[in-house]
């Protein structure tokens, strides 16, 4: 992979008041790479992934997404956001719109597609995530797993180059986690560039190209799933893995 990385992060710092949340994070992401970010709560992993589409502002360092440098320029930010999809822990579907309206809103308003084109693509996506029959329901009428799949379809409708997942299964009941992971796995195998903050180690083992362990606002260790699971180098990584893999 000799191409230019699709995401370049150099020495990114972020403070909340006096709290140093990100302490000089640097990394490159290649096109098509699937990266799983994990670490204890409060380690800054969610904050980091949210700086990549400017839901959080970084105060020092440089972030370049798809050749566009993140700056205060609103047009740059909106362009980056329309190239990156994001899926949230709490789904964040729009409760006053139907599933179909949730999906077609951004393509029609931002991409300026016709309603017909947007709805065709939305239907294809709903079939891809396995719930075409729910198109005309409201989010409140769906289960958590279905809602999260709609949220994934909504992000994909913008035809993003990068997908960011921020703990997508943490708010789900156990029996619904699989249906969401299946969709994510299929997406990973289709060649999408993915950064996922998750503790689903089965998912990581199956599809991740690289795993990144975050602790106290910095990258402690990274490597292939094989390296991370079988021969972690750092003590903090070993300790954390032993805690989440014990049962």
């Amino acid at each position: 992979m000799a191409d230019e990385p699709i995401i370049k992060v150099q020495e990114v710092h972020k403070w909340y008041g006096n709290f140093h949340a990100l302490k000089g994070v640097s990394m490159d992401v290649q096109k098509g790479e699937v990266i799983v970010i994990f670490g204890p709560s409060g380690s800054g992993k969610s904050t980091f992934i949210r700086t990549l589409n400017r839901l959080e502002e970084h105060q020092r360092g440089k972030i370049v997404v798809d050749g566009i440098e993140m700056s205060h320029d609103v047009r740059n930010i909106e362009q980056i956001r329309s190239e990156t999809g994001m899926v949230f822990q709490q789904f964040n579907l729009f409760p006053h719109l139907t599933v179909m309206q949730n999906i077609v809103l951004a393509p029609i308003q931002v991409r300026k597609w016709t309603k017909q084109k947007a709805e065709e693509i939305a239907m294809q996506l709903l079939e891809r995530v396995g719930i075409p029959e729910q198109a005309n329901k409201f989010p409140g009428q769906l289960s958590g797993g279905q809602q999260q799949r709609v949220a994934i379809a909504r992000s994909l409708a913008m035809q993003p180059k990068i997908m960011l997942f921020d703990e997508p299964t943490s708010a789900l009941d156990p029996e619904m986690i699989k249906e969401v992971l299946d969709v994510m796995t299929e997406l990973a195998k289709s060649g999408m560039t993915i950064l996922a903050v998750t503790h689903e180690m089965g998912f990581a083992r199956a599809v991740a190209d690289r795993m990144i362990f975050f602790d106290k606002g910095e990258i402690v260790e990274q490597g292939t799933p094989e390296q991370i699971f079988n021969s972690p180098k750092e003590d903090r990584t070993k300790l954390f893995l032993s805690q989440i893999l014990r049962h």
């Binding site: 956001r81 329309s82 994001m86 709490q90 409201f138 992000s155 913008m158």
Partner: protein, 398 residues
């Protein structure tokens, strides 16, 4: 215990009115005492009221002055213009009932109200118009029932253009006396007509201004934020009556010589600006109730700030505050009565002139009970409609 035994629901107590009374009204000696005491108080209050309404009260003052109370000095030969826009409103109401209130079977009965009013002592001409209104409403209802889906957009458009149509018809087209629709100056507008127009204009214009002020108060641009905060706090700190006085008495002092602004328009501006400040705070409350995740999801999709507001945040925020908004609109409706103090002849103002007629001295009770009844019926109507609206919009939410 037999395993196959079916599980039965609890036996419901069969009751008739006598056993219900024994249980709920005469359960013990103090229950019985309270029941008798309560019944006596109700009888005492009701019989007094009914005797006054049907025997003592001299309703002639209302009958004789009905036209004044309804439209003030508005010329009778031009009154057809008012009936015309009333017809438009009733027609649209009929459409809307058929389209949006299909579940409530009795809603259509509302359209019979004008015809029922015609049973009272009204002139022959008015009776015809009132029955005409009901017919128009029923026709609108019928049309709405035939093609509800197709008509939706045109009915909404109809409501949108109805305010300019009302103003245009009421005011007239040209100044020449001989023309088809000569101008009727606002000093002739009065009674319920004026109250209605002040209310509708106040609501329609204060709503967008209030929403903009609420957004302005949350703006990141300091000048816009300070202006919004300053405006809201300034206006909310002053009673409406003093704003009306300022608009009537002080505004002319600031305008250049020869400039005059119509007195009714001055009152409309005062009411609108006053209501906008309160509305802004209500809308801000709604905006604050929207979870941060909604903003984040919209932004993450690449929607701009304005698109996020228009498509995601405002629809949810306004839906949340429908009950508060309607409460405020009812407030605007009743507050318009303050214009009587600055000399406009709205429902209350005209009531005072009626009471000044030598023939009807001392009939305050009849006149004020009558206008209170009008205020109550219309306020309750707004409240009822908002409840239906909430039910409709509540479908499938969260």
């Amino acid at each position: 215990m037999a395993i196959n035994e079916p599980v039965l629901p609890p036996i419901t107590e069969r009751s008739n009115i006598l056993s219900w009374m024994r249980k709920n009204l005469f359960g013990s000696w103090y229950d019985a005492l309270l029941t008798i005491l309560g019944a006596w108080i109700v009888y005492w209050a009701l019989s007094g009221l009914l005797r006054w309404v049907f025997v003592t009260a001299e309703w002639e003052v209302i009958v004789v002055n009905m036209r004044l109370l309804m439209i003030g000095q508005y010329p009778l030969e031009q009154a057809w213009r008012l009936w015309l826009w009333l017809g438009l409103l009733v027609f649209l109401s009929g459409n809307s009932l058929a389209i949006w209130a299909r579940q409530s079977k009795y809603a259509v009965l509302l359209l019979l109200a004008p015809a029922l009013l015609s049973l009272f002592q009204v002139g022959a001409g008015q009776r015809g118009w009132l029955i005409g209104l009901t017919v128009t409403g029923l026709v609108g209802w019928g049309i709405g029932r035939i093609k509800p889906e197709v008509l939706k957009r045109s009915v909404i458009a109809g409501w949108v253009i109805s305010l300019p149509v009302i103003i245009l018809l009421t005011r007239g087209l040209s100044e020449s006396e001989t023309s088809f629709m000569p101008e009727v100056r606002t000093n002739l507008w009065g009674g319920l007509l004026l109250t209605f127009l002040l209310t509708v204009v106040g609501i329609m214009f204060s709503f967008p201004i209030g929403v903009l002020l609420a957004l302005g108060r949350r703006s990141e641009l300091p000048i816009i934020r300070w202006f919004s905060v300053g405006y809201i706090e300034l206006v909310r700190g002053v009673p409406l009556i003093s704003i009306l006085f300022m608009a009537q008495l002080m505004l002319p002092l600031f305008l250049p010589d020869g400039w005059t602004v119509d007195r009714v328009i001055r009152a409309m501006v005062g009411i609108t600006l006053f209501s906008a400040a309160y509305l802004a705070e209500n809308v801000r409350g709604g905006l604050q109730a929207i979870p941060k995740g909604q903003f984040e999801a919209a932004e993450a999709l690449g929607l701009s700030g304005a698109q996020t507001m228009i498509f995601i945040i405002l629809p949810q925020a306004l839906r949340l505050i429908i009950p508060i908004l309607v409460g405020q609109f009812i407030g605007v409706f009743k507050d318009t009565s303050l214009v009587a103090i600055v000399g406009l002849l709205d429902l209350v103002g005209i009531a005072r002139t009626v009471l000044a007629q030598p023939a009807f001295l001392g009939l305050q009770r009849e006149v004020y009970v009558f206008i209170s009844l009008i205020f109550w019926v219309l306020s309750y109507g707004m409240s009822y409609l908002s409840q239906r609206l909430e039910e409709r919009l509540g479908v499938g939410i969260r």
